[in-house]
């Protein structure tokens, strides 16, 4: 995902000299080509994330389309007020980029587990969250961001995740992206965790329960019409690599409530069972109950409703 991000950004920077990348001293082995090709479009703020975000906003106010990059919580929580005041309130076209969303940096410990970011970024005024499912969605995301300059939060996984798409999907803010059809319920997921949904779907199909799957990249801008349609298709699982409160699941529940849509929703997100745990991503997903079993059990047990 990280490589897809930088290669898409290089393509964009080649045709638009306002495309600017600022890093908070991260990206070893990733940003060298961009830095060499576009020395006036690449800056390292040093380990100074708060100033990086204000500086990004100032550069954007002077005409740049800025991508401000750091790991997980460092580009979001560390500088939340800079995002709120200098980027969002000023409507500056800055994309806050975090790499290693969720448990991607699992064995680096709690400081690097980014599982509360959606909850704080969701309410930033005018900011659109984009959480791509795979490298092809990252390419779609960069095209969309360059086309429509405004505040964004781009949450990336790490690198080497398996793709869920065969071809680059079309991105339109608010739209869900269908991965699979199904008549007995729906899984809505966001980020690079979609393969768990596919595994759950396959297991349920063996029991003649057919579940549809959608990627939801626009975490805080879901088209309610899409949810209305999905709610007529049975129960819903929201699958996310985020604390189960405050993330995509909460957004889905809020939209359903606001538009008076009735649906049974189960949020399969992190239970934060023990925040001191370390381990690789797969281990931490299981420990925190983000699992295929939970999805399968929900649909099995709720199919009578």
């Amino acid at each position: 995902m990280r490589d897809a991000f930088i290669s898409s950004l290089i393509d964009a920077a080649e045709v638009d000299q306002n495309v600017t990348l600022i890093t908070g001293d991260l990206g070893f082995g990733v940003f060298e080509e961009f830095a060499a090709k576009f020395p006036k479009q690449f800056f390292n703020s040093g380990v100074a994330e708060q100033s990086m975000l204000s500086m990004a906003a100032g550069m954007a106010s002077a005409g740049r389309k800025v991508f401000a990059y750091s790991i997980g919580n460092f580009s979001t929580m560390r500088c939340l007020e800079q995002i709120r005041n200098d980027i969002c309130y000023q409507k500056n076209p800055v994309t806050v980029v975090s790499v290693g969303g969720g448990y991607a940096y699992g064995n680096l410990g709690y400081s690097h587990h980014a599982i509360e970011d959606f909850s704080v970024m969701r309410t930033m005024p005018g900011l659109k969250i984009i959480s791509p499912a795979d490298r092809l969605e990252v390419e779609s995301a960069i095209s969309e961001i360059i086309k429509k300059p405004q505040p964004y939060y781009l949450r990336l996984g790490r690198n080497g995740e398996n793709s869920i798409h065969q071809a680059k999907p079309e991105y339109k803010i608010g739209k869900l992206i269908q991965i699979a059809e199904g008549k007995n319920g729906t899984i809505l997921f966001t980020g690079s965790i979609g393969l768990l949904a596919v595994a759950a779907r396959n297991e349920l199909a063996e029991q003649s329960i057919n579940i549809g799957i959608y990627s939801v990249p626009f975490v805080n801008a879901i088209d309610p019409e899409e949810l209305k349609r999905i709610a007529t298709n049975g129960n819903i699982v929201v699958l996310e690599e985020h604390y189960y409160k405050g993330g995509l699941g909460s957004e889905v529940l809020e939209v359903l409530n606001e538009y008076g849509i009735t649906a049974l929703v189960h949020i399969v997100g992190s239970k934060r069972t023990n925040i001191s745990q370390v381990g690789n991503r797969e281990y931490l997903l299981t420990e925190n109950e983000i699992s295929v079993d939970r999805i399968v059990n929900f649909f099995r047990n709720s199919s009578k409703y």
């Binding site: 600017t20 204000s54 500086m55 906003a57 100032g58 200098d86």
Partner: protein, 261 residues
Amino acid sequence: MNAKKARELIVKMVSAAKASHVGSSLSVVDILAALYSGTGNISPDNFKSDERDVVIMSKGHAAAAYYSILHITGFISADDIGEYGQNGALLGGHVTSGIPGVELSTGSLGHGLPYGVGIALARKNDIKQGRVFVIMSDGECDEGTTWESALLANHHKLDNLVVIVDRNRLQSLTDTELTLKLEPFAAKWEAFGWTVREINGHDVGQLNDACEASSSPICIIANTTKGKGVSFMENSVLWHYRSPNNEELVDALKQINVGER
């Protein structure tokens, strides 16, 4: 420009709105007057130009001073000044963008300098004219982003960036040196690679001279008196918060009228 008129507006606005920060506003107003009448190439006529000078009022709580100056220079209408701080008014207690002439919403300290660094850096790389002036309070220098930005500006040799610190030595509760020691203040900025000029922040001539170009970012330490021009407000933390009542307003206006500035 006549800072005396701005001072009159400040005490009237703050009194009518029962607002605070009158002392901070009287402290910084001569710095603003100098920028908007002399050094700064900024006016309603060139505000859309991307090579104009940029003023960022990072000391957002001195909004009454900024809005008075923006009114005198033709950005803000008299009607809007008259409604300062009222329900539904355009102008409130902290500097807010969307108001004519305002570059950045401030009020949370420590945002203006890194934002200004961003503008100055973009302009320098795009070979664009126009300098960036950031007006800060001395208490604001407690913020970590001030020193992060000081590093960044020096690293990128931002000779188009000027910081003016309103050095009135009083912050929210007491003296800056009793709160979180800033001295040796000039030496700190010098150590960060800035050109430092220390002047009387109520002397418009000295302020203009201090803005003369340098090959490095410039920090002007403008020594000021909080509440300047109204004897009972001068050097008093109380007037960081208190709003003048009618009697005090009359007294303040009388003093401003007979005063030199």
